[in-house]
């Protein structure tokens, strides 16, 4: 899973969010490292909807502009949890090997 996809799913893990909210949340989650462009975000959202990992939660019109909120589907939660566990296992393995080599304390 690409990092941007992982971060988008993470941004939606706790609550539903609209496009701009996802962009700001991803920036925060990544510690300011990943700044999603709107075009990139919506290409990913379109694909994730087709994959049934996210779905539309609700729509609002704010100052005449459409705001659509997305949320994780159960399949999206499962997929994110599996990916997080995989990354955690990889990170643990990497840290363990580095400790063996005396690379880090």
């Amino acid at each position: 899973m690409q990092e941007a996809t992982f971060l988008i799913l993470t941004a939606l893990a706790a609550r539903s969010q609209h496009g701009y909210g996802i962009i700001t949340d991803v920036l925060e989650i990544s510690g300011g490292r990943v700044r999603l462009r709107a075009g990139t975000l919506y290409t990913a959202l379109d694909r994730l909807r087709a994959e049934e990992l996210i779905e539309v939660d609700r729509e609002e019109v704010v100052e005449t502009r459409l705001r659509r909120y997305y949320r994780l589907t159960p399949a999206g939660s499962t997929r994110l949890a599996a990916e997080a566990a995989r990354l955690q296992a990889n990170a643990a393995a990497a840290l363990s090997r580095l400790r063996l080599a005396g690379g880090i304390a």
């Binding site: 701009y20 502009r65 459409l66």
Partner: protein, 310 residues
């Protein structure tokens, strides 16, 4: 023109890079995000933002699988059908069967009507399937549509032939739609006014065709030509309304049983030695929707299994 209006106009130009389907679905919200992300007083899209929009939009048009693959096209068409099909069937049944019958009620037909037990059961099934898809209960709707189709095929029912053909065709496609697509909830996201207009027109055309078949047609060839005209007009309106070719194919499959029955009727007059038996008739009449359902199901399911997030 204000700065904000100029910026919006320029963003809209960039959004033209995206396929129409994507713009219809996400264009306004993407524009809202672009404007929300803009700096105060910004009048032109930034270079990086413009490049991202052009790259994403053109990529979606050019890259197979990026936006509307054949598989996704079928899946989306089936998702809309899973929602709209049962409602369309119910509406057509009510107009075709119940309204003309209601005209006879003042003439003492109530007792006869109440005696049509099979018809009421079949109508009950239609109401139930329509309610389930409207509630987004995909798997319950699948079970109920299967039960409804089985009941109709085994009970040698009751309703005028035009409705029997339509109901069996709709149930065949509905089973594929509920099994092979994300289902009516996804259909709710995709359905738009064009589907409503086209289905209303299609229902009206079928009702008119049924009336003509009852009272006007003497020759199957004439009926066949009228049917071809009806399908062509509905297909033209569906195309103009922006309905996908996959959805148009599903609608066309519903007209197949009528065409098949007319061809059999015509052929029986000229070259068929005897009319086909009941099981042969069923197979001939519903080969079109059955085959379409199978093709749609295979195409909708196969790419979804192959697609992976990388």
């Amino acid at each position: 023109m204000t700065g904000a209006a100029a910026l919006e106009r320029r963003f809209r130009r960039l959004l033209a890079c995206y396929p129409a389907r994507f713009r219809d679905e996400h264009g306004e919200e993407l524009l809202a995000v672009l404007l929300a992300s803009a700096r105060d007083g910004q009048q032109r899209p930034g270079l990086a933002e413009s490049a991202s929009l052009v790259r994403s939009g053109l990529g979606m048009r050019l890259r197979p699988g990026a936006s509307q693959t054949a598989g996704q096209g079928w899946a989306d068409a089936l998702a809309v059908f899973s929602l709209a099909g049962p409602v369309f069937l119910l509406a057509t049944t009510v107009v075709t069967a119940l309204l003309p019958v209601a005209a006879y009620l003042p003439h003492g037909a109530a007792g006869w009507l109440l005696g049509l037990r099979g018809a009421w059961i079949a109508l009950g099934f239609q109401v139930l399937v329509a309610a389930l898809v409207l509630a987004g209960l995909r798997w319950w709707a699948l079970v109920m549509a299967a039960a409804a189709g089985a009941y109709m095929l085994t009970s040698h029912t009751w309703l005028p032939g035009v409705l029997f053909s339509l109901a069996i065709g709709v149930y065949m496609l509905e089973l594929a739609a509920l099994a092979g697509s994300p289902g009516p909830r996804r259909g709710r996201d995709l359905v738009h006014w064009g589907h409503g207009v086209v289905l209303l027109l299609y229902a009206a055309a079928l009702v008119c065709y049924w009336v003509l078949q009852q009272y006007a047609f003497r020759e199957p060839l004439a009926a066949l030509l009228v049917l071809a005209l009806v399908v062509a007009v509905v297909a033209g309106v569906a195309r103009a309304a922006g309905l996908s070719r996959y959805f148009r194919l599903l609608l066309a499959a519903l007209a197949y049983p009528y065409a098949a029955s007319l061809i059999i009727w015509w052929g029986f007059r000229w070259w068929l030695p005897h009319p086909p038996g009941a099981s042969e008739s069923i197979a001939l009449l519903f080969a079109g929707p059955a085959l379409t359902a199978l093709v749609a199901l295979i195409n909708a399911v196969r790419p979804r299994r192959r697609r992976r997030i990388i």
